[in-house]
Subunit: 197 residues, 2 copies
DNA sequence: GTCTATAAGTCGATAGAC
DNA sequence: GTCTATCGACTTATAGAC
């Protein structure tokens, strides 16, 4: 079918754009990367590129989505906490990606009309829920102190991960994963609170 | 002296701009607030406003600096940890400011040539040092477990504070201070690690 | 020294031809 | 699906009035 052919071409071009954009962003970050630059890298005009993605922001969002999916794929089966730490260690090798994530998350979370607002909202709920449930299981099996507020701890783990990216960008010798692990270790070895009568 | 007079006028105008800009930003945030808008609010043209600050980014940086100074001023004498938590509680009442801080910190930390890059770098070092020293004192006095890595914990406290702002912007019912307090409590009541022989 | 007015350039976004 | 052309918003820079 002709329709099938042209559709497939669009998808292929879209993926070529994403793959190239991912590399460019990883070198240069979001800031200072214009749509025209990305368009040149895939031999398109700026308008030609924007035909595949509605806007610059949607293009960048697509990049993050691909990245999230790839992370999830190659970590399938691992312990959630281990996954979490591995992703953070991996982030330290892709500075442009970290830059893109922090910039976009700041812009998108602060503006409900931002194209990526819903994506981030859903992402936080999903990961927080996943972490919370895992921690509850560990509490049930006695691997974790029962009186830790795991719902808050899950939010904190993500917040540390996000926040450490800023400090890491200022000083790339910072070990982001080690800082997240510190919180996790504190939670694991926190002494059960004695109930005051 | 005439020179003294005109200099004072410049400073006065600068402060009027900052005061007004602070209000406008607190309502509208950084995103969607143009220099022209701010200029209109203080009865200046865009170029007139930019004469006082080199650029939009430097203007916004000046706003954050004023905010930091005001926070520090009205908290003088309080315990550092209490100060930290009080500032976070205060942030929850100034959404535009939180928006400005997250947007600017993302943009500035990721780009060494950003006008606010050095400011953020210095700010993180300063606060981290302050927190670290305070914690060391508490360890010395026995108020805090001796084997907690306070240098990392200080960085973590700031990271949680920064990171929770994103989740709070997505859901303003989030209690940012409570999450920071969770980390602090975990550190305080963490059981001393037994040394493996 | 401070401000007005304006010019030039960049960026993202969009309309319409092919 | 890709292009040309153009629009409007923003920023920087500067010439010159006061």
């Amino acid at each position: 079918m002709a329709r099938r052919g042209s559709y497939a071409k669009g998808v292929a071009k879209r993926e070529e754009i994403l793959r190239t954009a991912l590399e460019v962003v990883d070198r240069n970050g979001m800031r200072g990367t214009s749509v025209r630059e990305l368009a040149d890298a895939v031999d398109l005009t700026q308008a030609g590129l924007l035909h595949h993605f509605g806007s610059k922001e949607e293009l960048f969002l697509a990049i993050l989505t691909v990245r999230d999916d790839e992370d999830a794929q190659c970590m399938a089966g691992l312990d959630i906490i281990d996954q979490f730490l591995l992703v953070i260690e991996h982030n330290a090798k892709t500075p442009g990606m970290v830059q893109l994530f922090t910039s976009l998350s700041a812009a998108a979370t602060s503006d409900p009309s931002h194209p990526a607002h819903a994506w981030f909202a859903e992402r936080y709920v999903r990961f927080r829920t996943l972490l919370t449930e895992t921690m509850r299981e560990r509490q049930a099996s006695g691997e974790m102190p029962a009186d830790v507020d795991v719902e808050k701890l899950a939010a904190v783990m993500m917040a540390v991960s996000d926040g450490m990216q800023l400090q890491w960008m200022l000083d790339p010798s910072t070990d982001m994963a080690a800082h997240v692990r510190l919180v996790w270790d504190l939670a694991l070895r926190s002494a059960p609170r004695t109930v005051a009568s």
